[in-house]
Amino acid sequence: MSYIVDRRLNGKNKSTVNRQRFLHRYRKHIKKAVDEAVTKRSITDLDSGESISIPRRDISEPFFHHGKGGKREMVHPGNKEFVTGDHIQRPQGGGGGGGSGEGDASDSGEGIDDFVFQISQDEFLDFLFEDLELPNLVKRQLQGIESFKYVRAGVVNEGNPAKINVVRSMRQATSRRIALTASSRRRLREAEEKLAALQEQDPVLRDKRKEEELELEIAKLRRRINKIPFVDTIDLRYNLHLKQPKPTSKAVMFCLMDVSGSMNQAMKDMAKRFFILLYMFLKRNYEKIEVVFIRHHTSAKEVDEEEFFYSRETGGTIVSSALKMMRDIMKDRYPADEWNIYGAQASDGDNWNDDSPTCREILIKDILPQVQYYSYIEINPRRHQALWREYETIEATVAHFAMQQISDPGDIYPVFRELFQRKETKRAS
């Protein structure tokens, strides 16, 4: 007797927990591999997983087994030319000897191959962004009652009086009354019919006693019917509302870049990588992200991504034009109570000297109070100029403002990490 069961619809990810434990246990190895990978590969292809290799000896589970040496007899198949008493040279090393002497390679010595496996893109990014956190993100989520909403989720038997569903409760009560009084009402009807029949008869023939009996019964039945409560506690039905998190709120990321003559393509590429990292990081935290690209030289312009990174311009630099534009766009399209706003500005630090104090003012008065985070990177191997010094005064006073200098592509990732590192003290402020 056999039972045949179709298990294909059962969960197929029985090993997920074990896999996670494995990843957790070797997170240091994996982290290292991820960090190496990110410096090696172009940041634009962060969209794939990564193959991780861990030295097999780090990962092996020890058990007692024999080492080399001693006397050992092994039987092998496929003899071609040996006869009893032959001497053969000991094969060198574990491999080439084709099994003679060494036996199965698995039980003597560990293989030198690395243990290689694949992690998915999600896991890759998790490791990449591990212990990074967008400042104020948590704060906003905790504060924001707006991130939850109540949705109707049917009708239930229990609840508080404020949520009584009257229609459903009355319907319940009616049907209960009908159900409980059905037999009494039938008998009442019968008794009334009989009584009526009796009363129609000729007064001489009327049977007074029987009429009285019927009247008594009718009264009794009426009482019984009336005793059934109109509304009982078991009839009550309540509306159920469930707290549902709103799809994690929306974010908008402003990319501001200086495209004046002094910014060359290499610098722009570096800025681009920084923006992409920021974008990917936001993508993991928000359901919906919009990106606004603002480029500027002496005047600012909102452009699409292609133009932002690749079209060439020349001319001087007025940074405040971009900030003003950002401010205006924020006001028009991204009110701060609906959007999480992030700003990232990249520049080589050149600015009209007169303009830098204006920049600071706009930032402090109009932009910083509205945004979650504002970061400034200066792509410039040389010494700092006026803009940097102005921004330094901001950094000293505002917690969610950060600035860093980048001089070659290798700096980007460490800078990114530093910018967004968990800073308990900073976050507390």
Binding site: S2, V17, E73, T84, R90, G101
Partner: protein
């Protein structure tokens, strides 16, 4: 030949067809006298097969990173096409659970049904090792109990804590079996009921043992010259469960779970050749019978034979694909050979196997299946013909000699030697280092001493032995000493204390060794 009325002609399977094939195969199997547990055939997808693989075939398993490691590496190999998935996994339980993969063709499903549901199944039910060491009806329940228990421990004591204990137990898993003593069958019901009582009782017992406050000074050496344990103990995990001084009761239970599971798998490790040979022999015989009856098509047979031959292929020792003797090949050929000896014995067979030559092959084969394990099966039933067919030869590797020696080949004077050597090769207790609990310093520093008795001068692989000792130290929590003994003298000592490993090759400083011997006596 009868008229052909095949059960099916296409290669796609359906549930009805699986049922039909199962019925037919079951009928033929019963005709041959195969006694089986009821079957539970489960159709699963490739991903589920990967999952099943990684939990070493246990349908329910507790969580541990090492299973994740297996999963990750299997998955990797499978994705790259380096590894096909096994056709089947079968679990020694009642009802006997067999997994069929949905990707297989109808022919493969029939092959698996014959192989697993009737071959392995009857082996599980018939072989003496499985009968005495495992309890098919309760294993699933026990695994569920184990999973839940460990989950509860994780909630209570933290995942890391539990993982550490499991790591240590896994390192000693091969030493968690009773090789000679018969265990009680495990039962989940009993397990649950008694678990609490056991906890208290165990702790009390342990307290009893360790009641003496450790004393310094040499007085006690004279008082107690008896060792504890009086006899060396082979089951290290059992010894730890019962005697480790500082384990908490839940930790003892975890040790017990690992030990029980090791015990459950122990018969499988001892009967690989027989078990696979038996199952392969029967899928071959059963499906051929169906073909004779006209129930399957020529195409079916071609596909079946193609995969059958690749399963029983034995690459020669110098082949790139050689990785030891293929248990399917050896087992299948030996089983078939026994049938041949019964049905058409040659002169040689009559000389070598006077009892079975010409006997009823079904009964003889059944007897062989029921009463042997690999080691004794080879010793008892390997015929010269098999040795010739496989061209077996035996090599002696002695580190005192410059060269390797061929000690025997497939010729008249060599048959017995080859058979002897091959039989030893399947003797688990000889392949695994012989390590036993030798002494516990009950009154002194509470250290535990293990002894490795070297066989044929074969030493331990030190690096991993040290790692295992660290694990043992985690369970025992006092010093752990491993002595490697050859001809009654201690050759090497590895000690694992709170500060890690100390090694001592006592061949050099014999004085100290003598001193310690005197102290012990």
């Amino acid at each position: 030949m009868t008229e052909r009325t095949p059960i099916s002609t296409g290669s796609d399977w359906t549930f009805e067809l699986i049922q039909d094939y199962d019925r037919e195969i079951g009928r033929v199997a019963a005709d041959f006298g195969l006694d089986t547990y009821p079957n539970q055939i489960e159709i699963i997808s490739a991903e589920q097969m990967l999952d099943a693989y990684s939990s070493v075939g246990m349908p329910v398993g507790y969580n541990h990173w090492s299973y994740g490691k297996h999963f990750v590496s299997n998955e990797q190999h499978y994705r790259r096409g380096q590894m096909g998935l096994a056709y089947e996994i079968v679990i020694n339980s009642n009802p006997c659970i067999a997994y069929l993969m949905e990707e297989n063709t109808m022919t493969m499903q029939a092959l698996v049904i014959a192989h697993a549901c009737y071959g392995h199944n009857s082996f599980f039910k018939g072989n003496y090792l499985f009968r005495t060491w495992t309890d098919a009806s309760s294993i699933i329940d026990y695994l569920v109990f184990a999973k839940n228990y460990i989950m509860k421990c994780e909630e209570r004591y933290g995942v890391n804590e539990v993982e550490a204990i499991l790591d240590s137990c896994h390192a000693l898993m091969n030493y968690g079996v009773d090789r000679y003593k018969r265990p009680y069958p495990i039962s989940a019901e009993e397990e649950k009921q008694r678990q609490r009582e056991r906890e208290e009782y165990l702790q009390k017992q342990v307290n009893e043992l360790w009641k003496t406050i450790p004393q310094l000074g040499d007085k006690e050496d004279h008082l107690d010259v008896r060792r504890f344990p009086e006899e060396p103990q082979e089951n290290l995990l059992y010894f730890i469960e019962k005697n480790a001084p500082l384990l908490e009761s839940w930790q003892r239970e975890v040790v017990r779970i690992v030990r029980k599971i090791a015990q459950y798998f122990y018969p499988q490790r001892q009967t690989q050749v027989m078990n696979e040979g038996w199952a392969t022999f029967w899928h071959y015989t059963l499906l051929n019978k169906l073909y004779e009856e006209g129930k399957v098509t020529d195409g079916f047979m071609l596909e079946f034979l193609q995969s059958h031959t690749s399963v029983v292929y034995q690459p020669p020792f110098d082949s790139r694909f050689y990785s030891g003797i293929n248990p399917y090949a050896l087992g299948f050929n030996m089983m078939s050979d026994i049938r041949r000896i019964c049905e058409n014995p040659t002169k040689e067979d009559k000389k070598w196997f006077p009892d079975i030559a010409g006997s009823n092959w079904q009964e003889t084969l059944k007897f062989a299946m029921q009463n042997f394990k690999d080691e004794s099966f080879v010793q008892q039933f390997m015929s010269p013909k098999i040795i010739r067919d496989f061209k077996f030869f035996s090599i002696l590797d002695d580190d005192k000699e410059r060269d390797l020696h061929i000690t025997a080949i497939h010729d008249d004077p060599g048959y017995r030697d080859i058979r002897e050597a091959l039989s030893k090769q399947y003797n688990l207790s000889m392949n695994e280092p012989n390590i036993q609990v030798y002494n516990v310093n009950v009154r002194g520093d509470r250290s535990i001493t293990l002894r490795h008795v070297r066989h044929n001068r074969r030493p331990l692989e030190t690096e991993s032995a040290e790692e295992v000792l660290k694990h043992l130290h985690r369970l025992w929590k006092f010093d752990v000493i491993l002595e490697s003994v050859q001809d009654n003298t201690v050759m090497d000592t590895i000690k694992c204390g709170p500060n890690g490993i100390e090694k001592k090759s006592t061949e050099k400083d014999e004085e100290e060794e003598e001193l310690s011997l005197i102290q012990r006596v």
